[in-house]
Symmetry: C2
Subunit: 461 residues, 2 copies
């Protein structure tokens, strides 16, 4: 082995883009010779387009390493990611069929079951964002001609109705004003109107409006009418109780970039045995091969492990660590943390004239949708927050554009320090534009909320 090795790192350093006048690496002659030899030996045409193109290939201009600025992420997602999760993402790869990785998949499944509060065997993370979770559920459970009741009170209910149509289904829309919930009575009426209904589809946490949809009693109603219950828990999972088994939910999907506080790119998903049976009994194959749950089930099933796709290994490292953080904190303390910080935030926003859009009984703690008072410039404030303070909050979507802000308190983003920092920054900006006479009251109101919670905790202890 006393050979002078071909030095790849050296080529990187002396490559033609760094030093355009340098000669091309002499080893390129080897490539040309190798291909000429191969072609002549096999009677193939001499060096063709394939080899010519290598010689004339140009390279793009050299850009720099990306160094992200510090951001306080208080929008509708992504949320901030704990350093332990970021570290997990940076671990070297193992193969996606390595026994050690398959064991990690099993652990993730168990951990997701605890989070979804379910014993469903099919509890996995799909290789796509929350919208992939939505599409997987609809494309597998809604067949051509199937009727599905869908609550439409924001962007994501509308998206669900679209997906039902694209799967060949017939969406039976229950509409409610943006910011309101879908009433149990309306679901009951829709189910009782006659004709088979394959599924009832509701959004637990409508990210576009901040409305918190009650779900406790829908499952029984669906079962009484032979319908499946499909729940969008993209924004709620990890920040609110999501009781898949207790509430009789048949399919529930989420995303990783909200209250789970892992980067975007995976869709946690759980499907009940009765819904999996519906998938297996389909009259026609699912249009989607990539999201075909019957195939994906065979991949995540430890007894079969039939190859389907290459699992997103690094993202699953990250999800595993994010789930560990969730379970170390414990679900009840985590939900309490979300509620308390939301209460403090809303208390602080009140002196600024920002009122929550949804009614008091149905406000999401992790997505605080507040209406802007007259005279406040939406874009100006959000731009200043981002540029001067490094804080991201969300604007309104669709009919709420320019009329609301959506302030996220999700997972790692949901911290007392962040609430106070945001309120202080808003007071600064409002005062600067003459929209506020007495700065300080917003932060003070939030602080009082935290104080009160400490006092009542001490009284209770």
């Amino acid at each position: 082995m006393a050979v002078k090795l071909q030095s790849i790192p050296q080529q990187r350093v002396t490559g033609s883009r760094h030093n355009p006048m340098a000669e091309p690496p002499p080893v390129s002659l080897y490539y040309a010779t190798r291909h000429a030899r191969r072609c002549s030996r096999d009677g193939a045409p001499p060096l063709g387009e394939r080899t010519r193109s290598v010689a004339t290939m140009s390279l793009s201009s050299h850009d720099h390493a990306f160094v992200p600025p510090h951001r306080l992420l208080m929008g509708p997602g992504p949320s901030m990611v704990h350093a332990r999760v970021l570290h997990a993402l940076s671990q070297p790869l193992v193969g996606h069929l390595d026994p050690i990785f398959l064991n990690l998949m099993n652990t993730i499944q168990a951990s997701l079951r605890t989070l979804f509060r379910t014993e469903n065997e099919f509890t996995i993370a799909l290789p796509g964002t929350g919208s992939a979770g939505m599409e997987a559920v609809i494309a597998n459970l809604i067949e051509p001609g199937d009727r599905a009741i869908v609550g439409v009170n924001g962007v994501f209910g509308s998206r669900l109705a679209t997906m039902i149509e694209r799967s060949g289904g017939i969406p039976l829309r229950i509409e409610a004003p943006w910011g309101q919930i879908i009433s149990l009575d309306a679901v009951h009426d829709a189910l009782s109107r006659g004709g088979p209904v394959k599924a009832v589809v509701l959004v637990h946490a409508e990210t576009s409006t901040g409305a918190w949809q009650p779900l406790e009693d829908v499952g029984a109603l669906c079962r009484a009418h032979g319908a499946l219950l499909i729940i969008d828990a993209v924004t709620s999972l990890g920040g609110l109780p999501v009781e898949v088994d207790a509430w009789g939910i048949d399919a529930c999907y989420s995303g990783t970039q909200k209250c789970v506080s892992c980067p975007p790119g995976l869709a946690p998903l759980t499907v009940s045995p009765r819904a999996m049976e519906a998938v297996r009994q389909r009259r026609t194959p699912c249009h989607s091969w990539y999201l075909d749950l019957s195939l994906i089930a065979e991949y995540w099933n430890d007894r079969s492990r039939a190859y389907h796709h290459t699992a997103p290994i690094s993202m699953l490292y990250g999800l595993h660590e994010a789930l560990r953080l969730i379970h170390e904190e414990g679900l009840p303390p985590r939900f309490i943390r979300h509620q308390l910080n939301s209460d403090a935030l809303l208390a602080g926003l009140e002196p600024l004239g920002l009122q929550p859009l949804p009614p008091a009984a149905h406000r999401l703690p992790m997505l605080n949708c507040v209406t802007l008072p007259e005279g406040i410039d939406d874009t100006l404030v959000r731009t200043q927050l981002l540029q001067d303070h490094g804080i991201e909050i969300g604007g309104g979507l669709g009919p709420l554009r320019g009329r609301v802000w959506r302030i996220g308190l999700m997972g790692e983003s949901c911290q007392q320090a962040h609430v106070l920092t945001l309120l202080n920054a808003l007071e600064d900006i409002f005062a600067q534009h003459g929209w506020l006479d007495q700065p300080g009251r917003a932060v003070q109101a939030a602080v009082e909320t935290y104080t009160q919670s400490q006092l009542s905790a001490r009284r209770g202890a």
Copy 2:
């Protein structure tokens, strides 16, 4: 602000799972009180299932942080990932609509265009694995009733035919034995048989067989017959020339975990203006909303930026850095590196009795598919490689199961040191089982290949 703050980190440490006898955090009383107050104020039913469930919630058993073992990844993917890419993955998040992130998306697009050798405006990374790229192209370009010629000479050609069927299309299969290529004549015959053909679909690098499909002259043939040319470049991109514009390819997708050497989870994709026109002229909406290219185009387009999904931010950080490494090395040196290491590997495998499956003119450098001699125990060797040496190579799929190994030399995995390490380990194992009389010849044959390339480089210089 002289308030005793609620300490989240402390809750993590003292949570009930770590210390099951500890009292629940007293602040939970705050949550119960808050919800009782809210319910009574709004006339909603008193504390219901939602709140009860919080109190009775159980937590899963505590698992450990995942520390991956060191692996030499020499299978069909994932390949190894450079430390700079792993570092990029661990950077803190910014929002997916942050101007700084949108700028990064533009940079990635430019960098992907250089890699795909195209000027296609629609050149992006899809939020899914390589199979999502395959599905996106088929689901958007093949409408119900469309006829598509598809080369089937391995697993991925078969998968393409399945996807064409699921999109309502009619696959016209050109079959070839596994390990062989699809001949230009066969494509010509299929196109000339009469009846409109929407697309010709070929796999550039068939990962299941190691066959390298020539593509230089297919594009002109397709254009002459009014058909689109769709190419699967999952395994070839970054390791072989992929000349999208010069070869007249209309849609070309890849994966990140092969020769791009980024973790799995993204699908680089480029689509020609003429194929995008076909997408926009569809008679029916694409079944898939998640992979609808007309919607995704509006998100990646810097002039519109219409919200579609939340981009997989960390994965795109990683892809950006992986592309920088590719362009720093330069495409020609990178392709030469793949060819040289493959030549050395095959030279080394010969004394072990392992012969390449595809004919000499059509062997992929990054996926070396070699047939096992009689008497070699496939599973035993691969298990020993993984357990004793930490080396992963791939087994055969479908009809090739137990008959071949698939040895990957992709991106960062494609290094002289890895070739020699693998050959040495194979010699050890073969000798241990009495399958080899003279250990050392495999490594020596590979070393001679490297020496020869150095000599011819010196002669040329």
